[in-house]
């Protein structure tokens, strides 16, 4: 790419999204610090510093994907998809077992989550397939092929087990079919079949996963065990009130009622809610709304169907994480393992989400001229 084109692309970037993303990354670092704070600035665990590094790495991934032409990337969709599948298989057979799950691969110097990569590689493959010119979307074979592309990584992720991540693939795939133009009748049928299959899904769940769902409906059943996080998170959120208790002044995390290992990761929003109150929580929610809107804006103004589908997929994935995590924090949904994008502590996740958002930027900067 030459310098002139580089400058042009730079000017065409969606600064709204950049600001919102930057703000969220900043919020993340700030509140990971607070989540690890025990009353003494000298003893704060250095997670926030790592998160700053991950944010930096994410920024690089974002930039790379922006300047990379998404259409060139889509040309390699199938090999990339294959790599994703390979990594998933690798982690199942070779990966270390941590907390009864095989989700991580130890590469020199860094630990990565193949499921994050697989989310994007699957999205790429799905978008490439559905954007194919001349595809008859009313034909049932379209749905079946789409299902086939998605089900392989889905099953492999479920086997890790990582239900949360696997579950995100479902609405993403569905919305891609919807955005691609599959007739509503077909979509309706799919929803029906999905509902009927729910009981099957229940019995496929492991004990502790079923426990989580049961405790969601009745946390008093096990207040010291599975219900603990839900109750403590609600107390944290509720006691924040309108204006919150102030930065670093949240007692739930400082006193350890919100367990130390989940406060900076899955329950980071509880910390934000307790310390900044409704005002802060709603603000963060708005920032997420801005990011999702920007991604959809890219979809609406994309020059081609491929870009449209890619952006919709990223928006839906992003939205799913945000919605499920915050709902869980407030107590509206059972506990899952889904982290909050850009704010929760986590390296692979941050980098992969930034890469996904970079993908939408790639679509946006190459939008139609008018």
């Amino acid at each position: 790419m030459d310098r002139a084109r580089f400058m042009m692309l730079l000017r065409r970037m969606d600064w709204g999204m950049l600001v919102a993303v930057g703000a969220l990354l900043g919020v993340g670092v700030l509140f990971i610090y607070s989540a690890c704070y025990r009353g003494d600035p000298d003893t704060v665990a250095p997670f926030y510093r790592k998160q700053m590094a991950w944010s930096g790495a994410g920024g690089i991934a974002f930039a790379v994907l922006t300047f990379l032409d998404y259409r060139r990337l889509a040309e390699q969709a199938w090999p990339i998809y294959a790599v994703g599948i390979a990594l998933l298989l690798l982690v199942l057979f070779v990966g270390p077992t941590i907390n009864n799950a095989k989700r991580w691969l130890d590469l020199p110097g860094v630990r990565v989550q193949p499921s994050e990569f697989a989310k994007l590689s699957t999205l790429l493959a799905l978008a490439r397939y559905l954007a194919r010119p001349g595809l008859n979307l009313a034909h049932p074979q379209v749905v079946l092929s789409t299902g086939a592309i998605a089900v392989v990584p889905f099953v492999l992720v479920v086997l890790e087990p990582d239900l949360g991540t696997a579950a995100v693939l479902v609405p993403t795939t569905f919305m891609l079919l919807y955005a691609a133009g599959v007739p509503l009748k077909t979509l309706g049928l799919l929803v029906l079949i999905g509902l009927l299959l729910l009981p099957v899904g229940w019995f496929a769940l492991k004990g502790y996963q079923q426990e989580r769902i049961l405790v969601f409906f009745e946390p008093a059943k096990d207040p010291l065990g599975a219900g603990w996080n839900k109750i403590q998170s609600q107390i944290a959120v509720g006691s924040g009130g309108l204006m919150g208790k102030g930065y670093l002044a949240g007692t739930q995390n400082v006193l350890g009622f919100l367990p130390r290992n989940v406060a900076p990761t899955d329950f980071i929003y509880s910390v934000i809610a307790e310390e900044t109150g409704f005002v802060g929580s709603a603000l963060v929610l708005s920032l997420y709304g801005a990011v999702i809107t920007a991604a959809i804006r890219a979809a609406l103004i994309s020059r081609d169907k491929l870009g449209r589908l890619l952006s919709v997929g990223v928006a839906v994935m992003f939205f799913s994480h945000v919605f499920v995590n915050i709902a869980m924090t407030i107590g509206l949904m059972p506990i899952t393992g889904l982290p909050l994008p850009l704010v929760s502590y986590g390296g692979s996740f941050t980098v992969s989400i930034m890469a996904a958002l970079g993908l939408t930027q790639s679509v946006y900067v190459r939008r139609r001229r008018s």
């Binding site: 010119p133 133009g181 509720g238 999702i292 919709v312």
Partner: protein, 605 residues
């Protein structure tokens, strides 16, 4: 390059717009839920948060002092310097690791200050389970040297600090121990209206005035709320409500009089009561043997408790108010008044004492075998002649004697402000069966079914001294609330007016004057130079047949003309009132009137 479709259908764009709307709407739903949880229901969750992380600790107030009438401190407080450990600064991961680090710290400190460790692992473990947010007291009552060593070497160590406790102290030692009572260190005072989670140990009265006036002395407890973390360790203090100090008690006791009374009872078991007959103030309330209330503080050891309980002298019994004794001859003035006031005898009535008295087939001996000869009532009092009073008693009858005794306060409690008072006993006025003339004879001389307490005797002496007003014995003059200068007074009062005629009074008072001042009065050993003293001795038999024992009594009031003091003294086991009680009373009088006396064998020997 891939080209994904050339025409962008409006339908697709519409679908995508709808999708955005749905997603934003769902985020709006989250915002509404946030509003409900944080703003609408925020209080509930704040309450839950407080419940799980806030603890309340009860803070006892400073205990009030007990003073004698001149302001001398009889019961007060002193600081006890303790070493306390703060486990939240010593904690390790896991309880047994924390216990280890605490034990290590204890060993190190013990070496530094020079004291053996008094806590073991179990104590530390119990503390963690039961009172974790409170400081753990490792040693109490550090002396100056130990404190200095601590300040020099250990003050900068983490998790350790000096902790000051208020400890009850009795500066006069055993003096007035029965009146003051004793205290204990209690660490769980149940208080239903203000539930606390934790309690600092507090001094609580367990006997005597300390117990009876415990509520006034204790003041009002304060409270402290503190934040604990999920493991229960103290995180920080939140708020303090200061306790209110207790009220002080001003007693009617006079320290000098009390000391005199207790010194007079040196070496024997017995009791002595000194009252002011003009208003009923109790200047001394002494009981022997005594105990040291300081031994109960800060902790009563099992050894001390065993020793006190197994002492054959029963030092814990407050004989002055709880001891019931046969009065013997000190009861005779009651019989005299009963006879005189009911017109059964008069100034001229005379009976002859040959040394014995015959009733039917029984023969009662007078204590003077040779007989006192003819006497009137005044002479009979001076001689303490049994025969005169047998005759008089039979004439008067049991009912009238009992009536007179009851009016003078016998047979019921005086209502003095202290626990365990005994009412004593006089034969019921309407008891008919099983009463013989011989019983009346015994009753007339204070034997048989009549028992009195030393306090009741002091009240009787006061009544005769002031001419017929039965006083209520006032032990506590007033109560002073903290921060006040003046005591809220407990006013003196009279219980009864006897309305004795002047004639009767002159005879009985005259007879009692002779008991001490006449050269052959039975109480002459109580004489002191320069002061006119009136009184009555008594020797009361008790105990089982074959093992007869005697109580030795004396009551006095002085000066005869305008009495300021009325005294009743009894020795549990003696030979006779004139021999055992009178010299002791003489000692007391010498102290009260500041008259120097040669050292008496009886009192100091």
């Amino acid at each position: 390059m891939i080209r994904g479709g050339t025409v962008t259908s409006r339908g697709e764009l519409l679908r995508i717009r709808i999708l955005l709307l749905v997603m934003l709407a769902m985020l709006g739903l989250l915002a509404a839920a946030l509003w409900r949880v944080q703003v609408a229901q925020g209080h509930e969750f704040e309450g839950d948060l407080k419940k799980q992380s806030v603890r309340r600790v009860r803070l006892p107030g400073q205990r009030g002092e007990i003073l004698d009438r001149h302001g001398h401190v009889l019961a007060g407080n002193r600081p006890s310097y303790c070493i306390a450990l703060y486990l939240e600064e010593l904690r390790q991961g896991g309880r047994s690791n924390t216990v280890n680090s605490v034990m290590e710290r204890l060993d190190g400190l013990g070496l530094l200050i020079g004291r053996d460790p008094e806590l073991d692992r179990e104590d530390v473990n119990d503390h963690i389970l039961q009172t974790l947010p409170l400081p753990l007291i490792a040693w109490r009552d550090l002396d100056e040297a130990e404190l200095a060593r601590f300040a020099e070497h250990a003050a900068s160590l983490s998790g350790v600090d000096v902790f000051v406790e208020a400890v009850r102290v009795y500066p006069e030692g055993r003096t007035a121990c029965h009146v003051l009572g004793s205290v204990k260190f209690d660490s769980k005072i149940v208080n239903a209206d203000q539930p606390f989670h934790y309690f600092y140990p507090e001094t609580v009265g367990r006997a005597g005035l300390e117990k009876r006036f415990d509520e006034d002395l204790a003041g009002v407890a304060g409270g402290k709320s503190l934040l604990v973390d999920v493991s229960g360790y103290r995180h920080e203090d939140l708020a303090v409500r200061e306790p209110e100090a207790g009220s002080d008690l001003l007693l009617a006791l006079d320290l000098k009089a009390q000391r005199a009374a207790e010194q007079a009872l040196q070496g024997v078991a017995g009791a002595a009561v000194i009252m002011d007959p003009r208003n009923g103030d109790v200047l001394a309330l002494a009981s022997a043997p005594t105990y040291d209330p300081n031994e109960f503080v800060p902790i009563l050891t099992q050894a001390t408790w065993d020793r006190l309980n197994s002492d054959p002298g029963h030092p814990m019994v407050h004989r002055a108010v709880a001891g019931t004794y046969a009065p013997g001859s000190v009861f005779k003035p009651v019989t005299a008044f009963a006879a005189l006031e009911n017109g059964k005898i008069n100034a001229g009535t005379s009976f002859t004492c040959p040394g014995y008295f015959e009733l039917g087939r029984a023969r009662f001996n007078c204590w003077y075998r040779h007989g006192h000869g003819a006497q009137n009532v005044r002479g009979a009092l001076r001689n303490s002649c049994n025969v005169f009073f047998y005759e008089t008693g039979l004439l008067t009858g049991r009912e009238m004697i009992a009536h007179m005794a009851s009016a003078m306060g016998f047979g019921e409690k005086t209502g003095i402000d202290i626990d365990y008072e005994a009412p004593g006993r006089i034969p019921l006025r309407h008891q008919q069966q099983g009463w013989y003339s011989g019983d009346t004879c015994n009753f007339s001389i204070g034997q048989g079914p009549v028992t009195v307490t030393p306090l009741q005797m002091a009240v009787m002496a006061s009544t005769i001294a002031n001419g017929g007003n039965v006083p209520w014995p006032r032990l506590v003059l007033g109560i002073r609330a903290p921060g006040q200068d003046a005591f809220a007074p407990i006013p003196p009062r009279m219980v009864n007016r006897m309305n004795w005629s002047k004639r009767s009074l002159d005879l009985v008072q005259g007879g009692m004057r002779d008991v001490v001042m006449h050269r052959s009065g039975t109480g002459r050993l109580a004489r002191i130079p320069g002061i006119n003293v009136s009184g009555k001795t008594g020797t009361a038999e008790f105990g089982k047949k074959g093992n007869p024992k005697k109580r030795a009594w004396m009551i006095v009031y002085a000066p005869t003309e305008k009495p300021r003091y009325a005294i009743a003294l009894v020795v549990d086991e003696g030979q006779g009132g004139g021999v055992d009680a009178a010299p002791r009373v003489q000692y007391i009088l010498g102290q009260l009137f500041d008259v120097p006396l040669p050292e008496s064998e009886v009192v100091h020997g």
